[in-house]
Each structure stands twice: as structure tokens, then as C-alpha cells.
């Protein structure tokens, strides 16, 4: 078997984005996540799968949720974890990303989970170090594990992804969550819409095969599920929207707006929520909200990704296969 064929069977060295994964790999990650859901229900929520591996959670941007979700996933697989936050690491002292990475390598680590402010940073790191790299969000580019957990949640409730209509609502322009979801959902055959003020929707999205809605009412009428993005306060300060109040009145997902939908919509939100801005509390806490399931699925999906990457070293798999025949 050629190396490329071996790589195609697994996930390869890194998970940098969803865009080039392909349907087979995405489905394989989602399927692998299923049994991992159950581990978190056990009395001893831990399996020894990644025992002895050292995983560094390298967060150049604060993100309590994503980091904790990864940390749970790592610990439940028995890996050793080290957290490095931007304020504590040496970025502040002007060290470059390459130097940070090489220093980590020198301490003999196995995997890096990285959040970085620059688009492309995860790929940059992955190309330069032999450790597995998992992108936990790079700039406005991708946040692959978030999209995977969103897709797992959608699949749990809609039965399938193909043919379903999912609309991403809010600040698509600055959102890595939106991009990863768009790539993944399109790959799995869903119809994808985006909805928000035109200042927050990159016009070229249409060329990706995405429907653009500027009115939330139209999006609600069309979609089976809404993935509501967080509206950052900075967007208002930068002038993309005049005020949070106006945003809520025109694009906020409210119970009254959802009431006119032909059938109940599934409501997702990657968190953390701004209640009363992009989503009203009675929707977030309502019967069709799956926001907490997303959080639960997040741990399972991340366990699946860690598991697949840890074993996914094609050269080792090949060597072992030769022995296994005996």
C-alpha cells in the first residue's frame, strides 16, 4: 500500500480544517465519536487509550470553553496535558510562532491543540513540526472540531445531513465556525444558507454554493436548523452594526419569529451566548435548543479526533500491518 493510500484511510497527521477532508473522513470522525459519547457516562470516565502521550493546549487567544472541552477529551483518554495561554507563554516577549513550536518540540511532545488569532496559523505549525496538530480555531479561517460537533448534533436530530437545510446566522465574515460548518455541511450534501447584515456576510460566499439571506424571517422559513453565531461586541465598535439593540431587533432569533416556521427549527449555538442579542433566552432555553448537547458532543468529537490522530501515523500502521499478518 502506498503512503498516500494509507493516509487516505486515516486522518493523516493533522486536523487543520474541514475544507479538504472529504465526506468519507468527516463521516468516519462522526461515527467514531458515537462510542466516545458513552465513555463520559461511565463511573470512571477515563480509558487508557492515549496513556503516555503529551498534549499541549497552546492558546494564543483566550477560549475557556474550547480549551476545557479539549482538556476533558484529552484527560478522558488518559493523555498528559499542558496548557499554555498567550499571557503566560513567551509570545508576549516577541517570540515567533516557529520558535514557540520548536521549543515545545524540544520538550518531546506528541500533539498540539492550537488556538491562534491568525488565519492559517494551524497549517503553518503543522507544516513545521512532526507532532500532530489540531486546529482549535485559527483567525477567521476554520474551527474544525466545532463544525464536527455541530454536524454530529445535527445528525443526531435530523437523522442525516444530506438534503437538510442549515442556516448560519450572524457574523459570518469574522467566523471560523461559519467557514468550517459551510465546508463540512456542503461536503456532506446539506443545503447551506447564511443570514445576517450584509456588512457581516462576505459577498463571495455565494460562489461557494451558499444561499445568502439578509432577512432572518426568510432564513427561518427556509431552514431545518439555525446555527446562531455569537455577535462580538467589537463588531459594533468597528462599525459593522450600528448597535446591539438594533441587531437584536432585526436579526435576533426570537420565539415570535420562530413561531411562524412551518415546522420547529433545531437551534444550535457554538457559545458563549449573548442572550438578548443574537438569541433570546426563551429560544436558547426552549424545547428545540440543542445547545447543551453540542457541548456534550464536543467532548466526544474531540476524543474521536484525538484517537484517530494518535493512531493515524500511516508509516507505523504499515509496519504493524506487515507483522499482523503472521
Amino acid at each position: 500500500m502506498s503512503r498516500s493510500a494509507a493516509a487516505a484511510a486515516g486522518l493523516g497527521k493533522d486536523l487543520v480544517g474541514i475544507e479538504h477532508l472529504g465526506a468519507r473522513r468527516i463521516t468516519s470522525i462522526l461515527d467514531t465519536a458515537e462510542p466516545f459519547k458513552e465513555i463520559s457516562e461511565r463511573r470512571i470516565k477515563k480509558v487508557p487509550t492515549l496513556r503516555g502521550l503529551t498534549i499541549v493546549n497552546l492558546f494564543f487567544e483566550a477560549s475557556t470553553r474550547t480549551r476545557i472541552s479539549f482538556e476533558f477529551a484529552e484527560k478522558r483518554l488518559a493523555a498528559d496535558t499542558v496548557n499554555i495561554g498567550a499571557s503566560r507563554s513567551s509570545v508576549a516577549k516577541g517570540e515567533t510562532l516557529v520558535d514557540t513550536a520548536r521549543n515545545l518540540e524540544a520538550m518531546k511532545i506528541d500533539m498540539v491543540v492550537m488556538r491562534h488569532w491568525a488565519s492559517g496559523a494551524a497549517r503553518f505549525l503543522a507544516e513545521r513540526i512532526p507532532s500532530n496538530v489540531i486546529n482549535a480555531g485559527d483567525g477567521a479561517h476554520e474551527h474544525p472540531t466545532q463544525a464536527l460537533l455541530d454536524m454530529l448534533t445535527l445528525r443526531d436530530h435530523l437523522g442525516a445531513i444530506a438534503g437538510r437545510r442549515v442556516c448560519i446566522v450572524g457574523d459570518v465574515r469574522h467566523s471560523r465556525v461559519a467557514r468550517s460548518n459551510i465546508f463540512g455541511l456542503l461536503t456532506l450534501g446539506a443545503e447551506v444558507g447564511v443570514c445576517g447584515p450584509p456588512t457581516l456576510i462576505p459577498p463571495h460566499m455565494r460562489e461557494l454554493g451558499v444561499r445568502i439571506f439578509h432577512r432572518i424571517e426568510e432564513a427561518i422559513e427556509w431552514a431545518h436548523a439555525l446555527n446562531v453565531l455569537r455577535l462580538q461586541l467589537e463588531r459594533m465598535e468597528a462599525g459593522f452594526v450600528p448597535s446591539l439593540r438594533e441587531y437584536n431587533r432585526i436579526w435576533g432569533v426570537s420565539r415570535a419569529r420562530l413561531a411562524v416556521a412551518p415546522e420547529p427549527l433545531l437551534i444550535l449555538h457554538p457559545g458563549p451566548m449573548n442572550r438578548g442579542v443574537e438569541i433570546d433566552s426563551d429560544v436558547a432555553d426552549g424545547p428545540h435548543s440543542v445547545i447543551l448537547e453540542q457541548v456534550t458532543n464536543g467532548v466526544a468529537v474531540r476524543m474521536a479526533v484525538l484517537y484517530l490522530l494518535a493512531g493515524g501515523r500511516p508509516e507505523k500502521a504499515e509496519a504493524a500491518k506487515a507483522e499482523e499478518v503472521a
Binding site: 486515516g10 461515527d31 494518535a310 493512531g311
Partner: protein
Amino acid sequence: MPDQFRIPIMREDAVGRAIARMAREILERNEGTERLALMGIHRRGVQIAHLLQDEIERAAGVRVPRGSIDITLYRDDLMAIGPRPVIGESKLPPGGIDNRAVVVVDDVIFTGRTARAAMNELMDWGRASRIYYCALVDRAGRELPIQPDIVGRAVTVLPHQRVDVMVPEIDGVLGVDVVTTSPEAA
């Protein structure tokens, strides 16, 4: 690599007799069905456990609880063999395993590594009062100091030979074959 030789060593009736004997032995060792539970190891141990459950019910009139266990995440060779994307379901028997005599059911015991992994996993699940290890086939080649308590049949095979247990749910038949894979043996 194509199989060079496939020799049946147990057909359906032979497996059936072995299962019946194993069921009796389980009942003898446990002195009945009191607090007994079966745990089949994925994949084919699950079916063997099912057969044992039926057999025990026939012999003792009691349907003992049965669960399943997938040891993939407890393997000691993940880094070497690459991931198994399909992980089977691990399911406790109704009532759990605490203070129960748990019979772990495997299709073939070979290196002992599966048994090791299964016992580690069981201990994470709870505290069984006793664990029995039960395999339909015992073949040579142990790499760990682990021996089964109850065996359907011991076979002597060479290192380049493989023992295949077949169950109806997966393979369409019930039986055991010895497969010779090495080309020089042909």
C-alpha cells in the same frame, strides 16, 4: 495475502457441544446462576456469550444478565496498528457488574493481551466479585501470564496459522477453521 489453506476443525454441532460443556462448567464453578453475568468481547465474543446465555438458561432455567465490551480503547498497541475507526459498543449487563461473578467471553485466546485489556476495562466499569475468563478456542502463543478458566477447545497451531471463529450473525455459519497464511507452508 490470500488464504493458502482453510481447514475446518469444528463444525456447528461441535461448537454447540463445546458451548454446552462450557455452560455447565460455568455453572459448576459458580455453584449456580447466583449473581452471575456474562460479558462478550467484541466482535465474536458477543455472539459466543449469547449462545452461552441460551445454554445456561436451558440448563438452569435462569436467563443470566449479559453485556458486551469493546477493548479497542484499552489496547496497548494503538500507536503501532493505527486507529480502528469503528469502535463497538460497550454495554454493562442489566444491574451492572458490582459484586457479580463476571464471565468474560472471548472467541480465541492467543497472546493474552485482549484478556489483559478486557480485565482492565472491567475494573474501570466496577468491582466484580470474581472474573472468569472463557474462550471458545485456546491456541498457543501467550505473551502474558494469563490463562483462561474455561475453554471450549484447545488447539495446537503453528505461528503462521490463524484460528478463525465464525458466528452466524457475522459470518453466516457457526464453526472454527484453522487458516494457514504463510506461503512456504503451501
